[in-house]
């Protein structure tokens, strides 16, 4: 059979989950990671990262809004997806999706953004005109109370929401790891480490994404980058990456040591079919290189320009590496036969419903949404605008 080496059960030759299912955990990972970065400031009082707080929340929202799209495009019957809300099967991790998603979107992200921005929304609902005014007025929910006490109430509730949001973010992305980790039929996936590895790699990708976006947007606004902020974000990226790398190495060492019945087949797969994506892209380019670059900035005293360049390169490599990790988990888990006697090939379409073009569009669509959100809810005060004074320093 073309594309098949060795023996595969006849129904296994065609891959079930495509690049869109690689994209979904990548997108929700960015959501969870961006949110964790935001919570660093809000809950753990890391003041240095404050300039990224609002941007992180908006980034999370932009990616969360797009996240269900790859899933819908992948389903055989997307018009039936509401069934997950009607009759969720309690033993299925996937059934959780609808509720966890809605909870995180409404009760955490939207609520927290609304609380943090409420003062600006009320002011903008009075100062703008036309359809923009209507949007802001709807967002105020009819209340224009921005007295100091009201804002203090918002502050307390917002803190509580962020606190609840942290385990919620872990749940939003952890359940995806569990979807793979709980499949005993697939030894590449089945592992209790899977949800943990997913969460940590999510944090790495989210932090890297916000760091890059902050640097990019600040440069685009012709403002000066707050180096104390970026240095701190990079430091958290570095620490989280070390933990993530340690977890992945633990999984690898454990597999090699135990060498169970699946090991030979998987090992062969990693050295042949997954060599480029796993060894070269994920490990060397996407993990070891950024960690080494970030380590340089921690150990050496480098100038501002050098640090910015290193952060930019490390950030980009990190995102590529984390995408490769999702690819290796999802696609890699389907390239080998459950008989451990053969391998198949992933034939990715280009312009099909689940093809490369759709994946690229869905990857960059959240940035378009983010652009709209940034225009609607500016994360930073405009220098020459008197309409929205500096946010209350109550944080």
């Amino acid at each position: 059979m073309p594309g098949v080496e060795g023996f595969m059960y006849p129904n296994e030759v065609e891959l079930q989950w495509s690049v869109l299912i690689v994209l979904y955990p990548f997108l929700t990972g960015l959501v969870a990671g961006a949110f964790i970065l935001a919570s660093l400031e809000r809950v753990f009082q890391v003041q240095e990262v404050k300039p990224t707080y609002r941007l992180a929340l908006l980034t999370a929202l932009a990616y969360l809004l797009i996240a269900p799209l790859p899933l819908q495009l992948h389903l055989g019957h997307p018009e039936r997806s509401y069934e997950m809300y009607l009759t969720p099967h309690k033993t299925s991790a996937m059934a959780m999706f609808g509720f966890v998603y809605l909870w995180y979107l409404m009760a955490v992200l939207v609520f927290e953004i609304w609380l943090d921005y409420r003062r600006d929304i009320v002011v903008l609902s009075q100062s703008t005109t036309g359809w923009k005014r209507l949007i802001y007025r709807v967002m105020t929910l009819g209340s224009s109370n921005i007295s100091e006490h009201a804002l203090k109430v918002d502050e307390r509730v917002g803190w509580l929401i962020t606190l609840i949001g942290i385990p919620s973010a872990f749940l939003l992305h952890g359940y995806v790891g569990f979807i793979f980790g709980s499949i005993k039929a697939n030894p590449w996936w089945s592992s209790p480490l899977m949800p943990v590895v997913f969460i940590f790699s999510a944090m790495v990708s989210g932090i890297a994404a916000v760091m890059l976006l902050y640097m990019l947007l600040t440069w685009a606004r012709k403002e000066t980058i707050d180096m104390r902020c970026v240095d701190t974000v990079a430091r958290y990226l570095f620490y989280t990456f070390i933990i993530d790398f340690a977890l992945e190495m633990l999984d690898l060492i454990h597999r090699i040591y135990e060498s169970d019945e699946s090991f030979r087949s998987l090992d062969f797969m990693v050295h042949t079919k997954l060599y480029m994506s796993h060894i070269v892209v994920q490990i060397v380019l996407g993990t070891i290189t950024p960690i080494a670059l970030l380590a340089l900035t921690q150990v050496l005293r480098l100038g501002e320009m050098s640090r910015k360049r290193i952060y930019a390169v490390a950030g980009c490599l990190t995102l590529v590496g984390i995408f490769a990790m999702r690819w290796n988990v999802v696609i890699g888990g389907q390239l080998f036969s459950k008989s451990f006697l053969g391998y198949t090939t992933y034939k990715m379409g280009l312009v099909t419903r689940e093809g490369l073009l759709v994946a690229i569009v869905l990857t960059f669509l959240p940035l378009a949404i983010l652009w709209v959100l940034v225009k609607l809810l500016p994360p930073w005060p405009e220098k020459n605008s008197s309409a929205v004074p500096d946010p209350a320093p109550a944080h």
Partner: protein
């Protein structure tokens, strides 16, 4: 032999009786089928399988299975000497048109028909997010094609590779143990067309079913017992090399 009108007069009543056999069990015609009285399984007697592929063809014909996908298939094993950890396995077209002459000489060679094992603890029903696949009260694991989303989670969760997505309906599909036949008192299409009796439908709740005696007197295994799926397809004479 040409059919004359006289023959027709003789044959038609017989045909009506015969057709009654076929219909005896449709919801309307036979309300006698009570799900709670049955616990369906299958026995595969491997020393009898000749790899003719009748079962694969019959299943495709009975159940309108699309080309390239298989509700049941036959594998051929070639095990050299004592190396049961490295069998050579092939299943050309699922074994549907039988098997070409073997390329390798010697060794131990045999056929293994495979199908959905209708596991009592099936991982596929566990992971379905909406309840579109389930084990019925009579032990048959089924898919509800009107409710299935086509998310493919069940296909990933099956350790035996017996599920696929039907490209016409975009829903999950697999062996139904010919549910539409066994509820009418017929046997499955694969068992009906097996010339050697290698495949036998069995009802574990029927005390007179020959499977009870068979299980007591033969060495019988299920596939991948370590997965703890409590598979209900029993294999007589299953070799250690079978994956």
């Amino acid at each position: 032999m040409s059919i004359t009108r006289r023959h027709m007069l003789l044959l038609l009543p017989a045909a009506a009786v015969a057709w009654k056999h076929v219909l005896a069990g449709t919801p309307g015609a036979s309300p006698n089928y009570k799900m709670s009285e049955h616990w369906w399984s299958m026995l595969i007697d491997l020393p009898k399988c000749i790899g003719c592929g009748n079962c694969v063809r019959a299943c495709q014909s009975e159940n309108d299975v699309p080309d390239g996908y298989f509700r049941t298939w036959v594998e051929r094993y070639h095990v050299t000497d004592y190396d049961i950890e490295n069998p050579h396995v092939d299943s050309p077209g699922g074994g549907k048109m039988g098997f070409p002459p073997a390329k390798e000489e010697g060794g131990k060679n045999f056929f293994v028909p495979k199908l959905c094992n209708h596991c009592a603890d099936s991982p596929c029903t566990q992971v379905c997010p909406v309840g579109a696949t389930f084990i019925g009260p009579d032990g048959v694991v089924l898919v509800d094609p009107k409710y299935c989303l086509g998310c493919r989670y069940c296909v990933q969760a099956c350790p035996y590779g017996c599920r696929f997505i039907n490209p016409k309906s975009n829903t999950a599909e697999k062996c139904t143990l010919c549910y539409h036949r066994i509820t009418k008192g017929l046997t499955t299409a694969c068992c009906e067309s097996c010339p050697t009796g290698a495949r036998q439908l069995a009802d574990l709740k029927n005390p007179n079913d020959p499977i009870h005696e068979f299980l007591k007197t033969h060495s019988v295994q299920i596939l991948k017992p370590s997965m703890a799926t409590h598979a209900k397809v029993f294999y007589n004479g299953l070799d250690g090399s079978v994956r």
